[in-house]
Amino acid sequence: MDTPAPKLFFAGLDIGSTMSKAAIIDAEGSICGYVVGPTGAEHRHRANRVMEDVLAKSGLSLDEIAYIISTGYGRVNVPFADKQVTELTCHARGVAALFPDVRTAIDIGGQDAKALKIKNGKLIDFLTNDKCAAGTGRFLEVTAETLGLELNEMGRVSLQSARPVRINSQCTIFAQQEIIARLSEGEPLPDILAGVYIAIATRVAKLARQLKIEPPVVFTGGVAKNSGMVRAMETVLGVPVLIPPEPLITGCLGAAILARDEALKLISRGEFRTQKKQLSEAHIEFTEKAA
């Protein structure tokens, strides 16, 4: 063959309740590009936008993507996806790709928190805290609003605390009242913030403990970007936690890897259909290499 076969690419989209994430990988599993942006109300519109952005970032066109998997709350709203997989399976796969020895993963997103047990890179058990803002990113957002702080500022301020206050309420609304009460009692801001982080970490650790925490523990999701939260999580769990370089993209990365696995499986069964002849040739070469 004179002309070199084109490379194959695979995409994963994670349409979360708060943020939408997308990644494209090649056949070797290297990340060609990724994007992160707010989801907003228009899930369908958002899916198109995030796909266009990640293609632009990777310098690719949609035709070059062999297989697409969507995940997250909005996974049903990705019309161009070949398959939908839950965010639990995708996160586990993404985390295991970055930390092959991982046994426990904790993910805190905008509206949910999940604990995952992983063995040999595969999800074996999980628990989620669904439809309650306590112990999620939303809890932090409401706290930031209450205190008139920026989210990233909050983490930094909390690290100055030597004696975190106790926040007893598990409910987001009641906890905000408690924060205001502590403020009026004259408790220092860093101690209150550190107390908020401990409260969230405690709630999420409760999920993880039900699955029996085994190290290494990986902490992902938007909330893992918060230095105060990471410290609180380590304090509560009593073990160090590993944070990926970009903790928001483990879900979409996992989806992209699963897209690659799925495509490979279909190719090996001879069931992979594509209108592009060139791509078919590439598939064959890819299969031979994989075999």
């Binding site: 709350y73 839950t86 639990l88 399976t89 999800l123 074996i124 058990d125 999980f126 669904d130 439809k131």
Partner: protein
């Protein structure tokens, strides 16, 4: 989800969608309808006296509004839904209501019914013990005797041995036919979907026993003949837990890529797994309802007093029937579902999960508040569970 309907399944679907349709007709002809809650009032006694037993369910699609005036909110939403519908007059086709002390809320429901639901001349609460020791069975037999006297007074006739024997035969026949219905889901793919199965069972709880038996015969004959079968799926699940009378959960699980092939629930196998032993007398009924029906409302671990020393034996004596079903139906995962605030099932979950672990069978625990809305929140978890098994 129905895939290709036949006469029996079509009728079952119609009754599922409008449960009181047939008993309203019968009532016009002078028949008396006795509603009952949970599985514990012996339907044989009701049938034997020429009365029609009608199992009372709630309605997941109807928001609970009236019940809040008479009931606290932190109790079983299924039972709250029933009293809510009762107060709203949705059970105005019932001539009576019977319940048992299945759990505290179940007992409270019957008393609330007496106080707040008008125009139900007959109300009876059976005081059923919570252990299955010999003295408990004997006590329960006395309670069944007083239920009998109350029913006789209401029906205006005596319950003879002959009438009870005939009723037991009809209900046992129903149990045998239901077990044949479950056999249809042993092959892979199963010959019946779990939602079709549920519609048939809900219809049985809404019809006189002889009509239910004819329906089952039609369904069994029709399903064996139909050409279109449910699709084969990699994952074959069992559903465990308290009452679930709506196809929503089964549709959700089957949409997630699994076939539900068997269950251990009280709108499923529990009512039909064991026959009432002959001779059909109150003693046999007491034995059947208190011992042979496996619901965690009866403490079956009492034999070993829950001691750690006998823990494994205790688990095996409580759950070996589940092990057998897992083997016979080729189950590779269990969905443990419970309605919120159900303490009887809640306390069973850690033991059952442990037992499943020893069998190497993965399980997932999901809790709902008996509303369509709560189905959406468990969807992702069920899908992820199916993904871990696939």
């Amino acid at each position: 989800m129905a895939i290709a309907t036949n006469k029996g399944l079509y009728l079952a679907h119609e009754i599922y969608a409008d449960r009181s349709r047939r008993v309203r007709e019968l009532r016009k002809d002078g028949k008396k309808i006795i509603g009952y809650v949970c599985l514990y009032p012996p339907v044989e006694m009701i049938t034997a006296l020429g009365l029609i037993p009608f199992r009372v369910f709630g309605n997941m699609d109807e928001p609970i509004t009236a019940a809040d005036q008479v009931s606290i909110t932190v109790v079983c939403p299924f039972l709250r839904s029933i009293i809510d519908l009762g107060i709203k007059g949705k059970f105005n086709f019932l001539d009576g209501i019977a319940g048992a002390h299945t759990c505290d809320v179940g007992a409270g429901l019957i008393l609330q019914w007496r106080d707040y639901v008008k125009d139900t001349p007959f109300t009876h609460l059976i005081d059923i013990p919570h252990t299955d020791h010999a003295p408990a069975i004997e006590y329960f037999q006395h309670q069944l005797n007083s239920f009998q006297r109350h029913l006789e007074e209401f029906a205006g006739e005596k319950l003879t041995d002959e009438k009870l024997k005939r009723a037991c035969e009809l209900h046992n026949r129903q149990r045998q036919l239901v077990r044949q219905l479950y056999d249809l889901r042993k092959p892979d793919p199963p010959l019946l979907t779990s939602s079709e199965n549920l519609e048939v069972l809900v219809a049985l709880f809404s019809l006189p026993v002889d009509e239910g038996n004819r329906l089952l015969e039609d369904v069994l004959a029709g399903v064996k003949e139909r050409k279109v079968k449910p699709p084969a799926k990699k994952v074959r699940l069992m559903v465990w837990g308290p009452v679930f009378d709506n196809t929503a959960l089964y549709d959700l699980i089957e949409d997630a890529g699994a076939n539900v092939v068997v269950d251990d629930t009280c709108v499923g196998t529990r009512a039909f797994w064991a026959d009432v032993k002959a001779p059909c007398e109150l003693q046999a009924l007491a034995q059947h309802y208190l011992v042979d029906i496996k619901c965690p409302r009866t403490f079956r671990q009492a034999e070993h007093a829950g001691t750690r020393r006998d823990y494994d034996r205790d688990l095996d004596s409580r759950f070996s029937y589940i092990k057998k079903a897992i083997k016979d139906w080729g189950v590779n995962g269990v969905v443990l579902q419970s309605v919120k605030y159900c303490d009887t099932h809640g306390y069973e979950v850690p033991n059952l999960r442990h037992y499943l672990d020893t069998l190497g069978i993965p399980g997932i625990y999901i809790e709902h508040d008996y509303s369509e809305r709560s189905m959406a929140t468990i969807k992702t978890r069920v899908e992820a569970f199916v993904e871990t098994l696939g």
